[in-house]
């Protein structure tokens, strides 16, 4: 008993000393927070140059996407000092700007000669500015991204399948240009035996907890004509959110979920889709452009993978992803953080960023004549970025997103009600939120 007590006391003392002695970050270190995915690894590689140039040690805190928003927003709200630099999701701009979590970068940009005109306008609008359409910059566009599609071009190229498809649908088996075509292709592959394995049509986003199903469904809703407001800035959602076209779009998404996805894909997001595609379970996979560089190099399916932009329907539209890099306002190393931003904005760094697998938003990369051929998905990326739409970026975006996640998952996965009811209910939820915010 005595020994246990002594050991316990010793352990506890050590523990308390350790706990009480936790100090802030050491000198000249920067912690960069982002999501844990392929591009983050590329950024680590890229930043080795910065480390050499500046002598600053870079530390990283990468959080998997399903937990990223929760973790980082809690950190910001609780005044944490974990991150000096944050590559935050585009939807966080409103809240972070208004609550003073991000540093406003206008003066810094002016001083260092960093021009927002040098970056693709869609990215500046989406990742840097708040309020929208005002020249108030809270982030440098870091990673352009949109929702795209991967497909097994080797399967599409099989002569017997091509013949069968052509006979059935009177057109070639090729990447779809509309959602209706997408559904036909998915149904064609669903349950088919290819190379001795049963395969399925498509892997789409159905994740409930963070943002998965919203990102997935909007990829169908936007092309059908779904809009958030009839008049931008007026929050008049009736007729935009629940228009007949929007209803059709949502019904299409559910139809594809029901008919043509692998079993068990009721809560899937990026990782599950990648696994399904890499293990040869699906003919097509919805996922972010961010994963295309990695997939193109994959040992199993790299050379068998093709890419196509999100199919249109009434209009061409893709769901916007992507992030800007911001300086967290209560960082202890403001100079170091700003130096990183300056370094990152340089054209040759941006070029290397693209080469390593990051989606640079700088015009010097995107407007380069050789860009379209630099990667098998580069052309699709340019096409997608030409028609991207983003979710609400309001400070209340988290509540708005939550409401949409619930309504969508209830309808698509849990079979509650009709598409119209889901979208009508969504308007009710969003109206209540905007009323609480004082916007309505």
């Amino acid at each position: 008993m005595k020994t246990i007590l002594k050991t316990a006391t010793a352990l506890a003392t050590v523990g308390f000393v350790f706990a009480a002695s936790q100090t802030a970050a050491q000198a000249d270190e920067l912690t960069l927070c982002w999501a844990a995915w392929d591009p983050a690894n590329a950024l680590v590689e890229l930043s080795k140059d910065f480390e050499k140039q500046s002598g600053t040690t870079m530390k990283y805190e990468f959080v998997p996407w399903p937990n990223f928003a929760d973790r980082v927003l809690n950190e910001l709200n609780s005044g944490g000092k974990l991150c000096d630099l944050l590559i935050g999701d585009s939807q966080w701009i409103g809240g972070s700007a208004e609550n003073g979590y991000y540093v406003k970068l206008n003066d810094f940009f002016d001083k260092e000669g960093i021009k927002m005109d040098d970056f693709a306008p869609a990215t500046v609008y989406a990742y840097s500015t708040w309020p929208k359409v005002t020249p108030n910059y809270w982030a440098l566009p870091a990673m352009g991204d949109a929702n795209g599609w991967f497909y097994r071009k080797d399967w599409f190229a099989k002569p017997e399948l091509q013949a069968e498809f052509k006979a059935k649908h009177n057109r070639d088996l090729a990447p779809p240009k509309t959602w209706e075509e997408l559904k036909e292709i998915a149904e064609f592959f669903q349950g088919r035996e290819i190379d001795g394995q049963k395969v399925y049509g498509a892997a789409i986003f159905t994740e409930r907890a963070s943002e998965g199903i919203t990102m997935g469904a909007t990829s169908a809703l936007y092309p059908y004509g779904f809009k958030y407001e009839t008049t931008p800035g007026k929050y008049d959602m009736e007729g935009a959110v629940n228009s007949e076209d929007a209803v059709k779009g949502l019904e299409m998404y559910k139809a594809i979920y029901k008919c043509c996805t692998p079993p068990g894909y009721t809560d899937s997001y990026m990782g599950e889709g990648l696994d399904a595609f890499k293990s040869g379970q699906v003919a097509m996979m919805m996922n972010w452009f961010a994963f295309m560089p990695g997939m193109a190099k994959d040992e199993k399916v790299g050379d068998k993978t093709g890419f196509f932009v999100n199919p249109g329907q009434k209009i061409a539209a893709s769901t916007l992803g992507g992030q800007g890099i911001s300086v967290v306002a209560n960082t202890d190393n403001m100079e170091g953080a700003l130096a990183y931003i300056k370094w990152f904005s340089q054209p040759d760094v941006q070029k290397k960023w693209w080469a390593l697998g990051g989606y640079a938003a700088h015009n010097v990369v995107l407007n380069d004549p050789g860009f379209k051929d630099s990667q098998p998905f580069a052309a699709q990326f340019l096409e997608a970025m030409g028609g991207v739409q983003d979710f609400w970026q309001e400070p209340a975006y988290a509540s708005l997103l939550q409401a949409m996640q619930k309504r969508l998952h209830d309808y698509v996965v849990a079979d509650k009600g009709t598409a119209k009811e889901a979208l009508d209910g969504l308007i009710v939820d969003w109206t209540a939120i905007f009323k609480e915010e004082g916007k309505l």
């Binding site: 506890a12 523990g15 009480a20 936790q22 809690n74 974990l82 990782g271 990648l274 990695g294």
Partner: protein
Amino acid sequence: MSAALSTAHSVVEPTVTAKRVAAAVVILYALISLVPLLWIFATGWKTPPDSISYPPKIVFNPSLEGYCNLFTTRTRQTSEYIQALGPPQGICDKVTRQREMVIAGPSNYMPRFVNSLIIAFGSTFLAVSLGVLSAYAFSRFKIPLADDLLFFILSTRMMPPIAVAIPIYLMYREVGLSDTALGMILLYTAVNVSLAVWLLKGFIDEIPREYEEAAMIDGYTRLQAFFKVVLPQAATGIAATGIFCLIFAWNEYAFAVLLTSGSAQTAPPFIPTIIGEGGMDWPAVGAGTTLFLIPILVFTVLLRKHLLRGITFGAVRK
């Protein structure tokens, strides 16, 4: 053996058949309930593709990838890059390179595990210490409103952790205890101390007062009597209470995920975020889960006799 003596035992002893049937059912249940655990343990030894193969593989080639992936972060590189590096250093380097990847650095698992050790053991020690002191006082002295206080102490455990976390989150934000080991230790202690007081009061009630009184007659002060006479007698109770407090603090998730992010995060919020190149890195998760179970398993097995005594909290008398 028992067959020959079956007529010679007390009439309340179960028959041999009864014992055999009981044994069969219990062993069957134990084996069934072990299956998920064995599966997770086995998954820790599979390669990532094997772990997500369908149908699931029961026979597989064991690999160290799970454990190596758990402790490292890796990046994928081209073969030329890998050739250009020197020979692999250590077994995990070798394993990683076979996948065309290179170790980029240590993962966060070890720091999280260490945080768990510090926070869980620290708060257990504190909770049991405070608990035994308070339990002694409640047991031996007439405290005004004792019964109400005790019920109030127990009722603090009735709030859902999320509910408790809301004001604590705000409070810690003001005081600067967010994401600190100290903050978490205080919180877990507060949650555990109520249980500790209840359990230990039951145990101390059972220690006859004559022992302390005899000691005090012999010249010990009450404090000395407490430390030299009562505490050793209460060892079983303290051990049992310690186990329960430790299990709670070690495995706690809700407070950890809401109130910590980097510095003080423990293992339970961390393990479900271990992703591989696509979805979850199940071999690494299996490895992490197995390793995380070991301290508790060791602790509980060592003190299992006390566990049985402790479970009734002395709240129900013979």
